[in-house]
């Protein structure tokens, strides 16, 4: 596999990651969200392996496998179990309607392209063109966290943001040191468990996972 083909393949995977990020914004069903999140993790994992091959950085293979295990299998499974336990298979409720969110998303992509253009000029890595996509994925995850009402969808947005950060690390500097990546992976796993516990607490307190209800957490005068 020549390097130029690896770079093209990486661009295609970057495009797919961006597509899944938009898919997460557009998806109305919570299971659909989980599937899209798992797909995003899969593309991220393949992309990491491709970058590892193109750059000759073999520790990226390990983080690719780690991504595959954690973000494609373990995290979606944990969220799946949570959704079943919490009985929230309903449609996702949004604060802003979906086409408007999409337009905002396009604006964010253009913004991140503009923001990363100086880095792209300076960088000499094979993956320099995908930095904009990585930043856009982070922004789209953030947008998802802002525009969704329910705690579970917000968490998926948060995890998508983390995917974006991971992708940014691989495309800007060929990945973080392995120790850091292991630490982050562990953090994410622990976070997923803590989120689960929190969901149960939120639900037992408010009878709903709608985080707007938390506005009631005020001291009575």
């Amino acid at each position: 596999m020549p390097i130029s083909f690896a770079a093209q393949l990486n661009s295609v995977l970057a495009a797919l990651i961006l597509l899944t990020a938009f898919g997460l914004l557009a998806q109305r069903r919570i299971y659909g969200l989980l599937h899209l999140f798992a797909w995003q993790g899969l593309f991220l994992s393949i992309s990491t392996a491709v970058v590892g091959y193109a750059a000759g950085q073999h520790h990226l293979y390990i983080s690719s496998i780690l991504t595959l295990a954690l973000k494609v299998i373990v995290l979606p499974y944990i969220l799946h179990v949570l959704i079943i336990r919490l009985k929230i298979q309903k449609e996702v409720e949004t604060l802003v309607n979906i086409p408007a969110t999409m337009l905002m998303g396009i604006a964010l992509v253009i913004f991140s392209y503009h923001l990363t253009s100086p880095i792209r000029e300076l960088s000499t890595l094979v993956t320099r063109s995908t930095i904009a996509v990585a930043l856009a994925t982070v922004m789209l995850g953030l947008l998802m966290m802002i525009t969704r009402k329910h705690a579970v969808t917000q968490i998926i947005g948060f995890l998508a943001m983390e995917n974006g950060l991971f992708f940014a690390a691989t495309s800007a500097t060929y990945g973080m040191p392995l120790v850091v990546e292991l630490g982050v992976a562990l953090d994410i796993l622990i976070a997923a468990f803590i989120f689960g516990i929190f969901f149960f607490h939120i639900r037992t307190t408010f009878d709903s996972l709608d985080v707007e209800q938390m506005a009631r957490l005020k001291e009575e005068d």
Binding site: F5, Q8, S129, V133
Partner: protein, 315 residues
């Protein structure tokens, strides 16, 4: 000599369009029947339908104006003209240099505009409703369509379809995410523009759901035959436009007559695949609510825009 040849090719292509469009529609219906386990009427059934309609008398409403009588001919003519612009068999087309892809979109828009006017002309409720729905969809589909073809134009540095076919068909084969996005957008737009299942259903006359059928409900006889034929040509044209912009391999170059039979064979194979793909989409999806259609076309616009952005970002 070569000029005469290119005019001959143009004529050949128009003949091919006129004769192959009903067969393509018949093929789509046949595959659909197979997919749903029904017996088929054969791929030549649309010919018989057209023949029957041409032999029938026209029933014209008393208050029909010239627009109503003129529209079938205009729609038919616009479809034939569009077929003369798109490289179906060969890129050597005299008309292709005078009209580019923007003119093509404008041609489709013009025939739609007149169909909508004709729908309202008689003054029936269904016609007006169909026209209003059609224009709602058109206003969303057209920008997405333009964005999708502009992405291909960016990749080939030209808006002329012949040029696009040459650049993409003979360039180095590289993975282009921008073209993949544009193709996805184009497929969604094709479904909306040709009135296929998730947006409109071409086989139903149920008053609550029909869009295109609502507009042409008052037509009969020769007029209806022309409109139906133009509709078949539109489906065929979108299929060959997709082939020309995204899978142009095999379309003959200028002055290369030997490549023509091969081009024809490849075209038949590609069209057969395209028809089967269309049926796959149609049988796999249910018709969506009218108020979901803007979202559907919004995602088409999103894909087209992402295609254009990823051309700048990733290529």
């Amino acid at each position: 000599m070569s000029e005469i040849l290119s005019y001959l090719l143009e004529g050949l292509q128009i003949l091919l369009l006129l004769s192959a469009a009903p067969v393509f529609t018949g093929w789509v219906r046949t595959v659909r029947c197979w997919a749903q386990g029904r017996t088929t009427a054969g791929i030549f059934q649309p010919y018989r339908d057209l023949m029957k309609l041409f032999h029938k008398d026209i029933v014209l409403a008393e208050n029909a104006s010239w627009i109503f009588r003129f529209t079938p001919y205009l729609v038919f003519g616009a479809a034939v003209l569009a077929g003369a612009i798109i490289p179906i068999l060969s890129v050597d087309l005299p008309l292709s240099t005078t009209a580019d892809v923007i003119a093509l979109v404008a041609l489709f828009a013009m025939s739609r505009f007149f169909t909508a006017l004709a729908g309202m002309d008689i003054g029936t409720a269904f016609g007006g409703m169909g026209s209003s729905r059609e224009m709602t969809i058109a206003s969303l589909a057209e920008p997405a369509m333009l964005m999708a073809v502009f992405t291909v134009s960016l990749a080939s540095k030209s808006t002329s379809l012949s040029q696009m076919v040459q650049v993409i068909g003979h360039g180095q084969l590289i993975l282009r995410p921008s073209l993949a996005f544009a193709l996805l957008a184009f497929v969604l737009i094709t479904l909306a523009e040709t009135g296929r299942v998730p947006v409109d259903n071409p086989v139903t006359h149920l008053e609550l759901t029909m869009i295109h059928e609502g507009m042409v409900l008052e037509y009969s006889g020769r007029h209806l035959a022309l409109i139906e034929w133009a509709g078949m040509m539109k489906l065929f044209l979108f299929a060959v436009l997709g082939i020309a912009s995204f899978f142009p391999w095999g379309i003959a170059e200028a002055g290369n007559l030997i490549a023509l039979p091969l081009a024809l064979l490849l075209l038949i194979a590609k069209l057969a695949l395209a028809g089967a793909g269309l049926v796959l989409i149609e049988t796999g999806l249910a018709k969506m609510r009218l108020f979901r259609v803007p979202e559907f076309l919004g995602s088409a616009f999103l894909f087209a825009t992402l295609g254009m952005l990823s051309y700048f970002m990733l290529e």
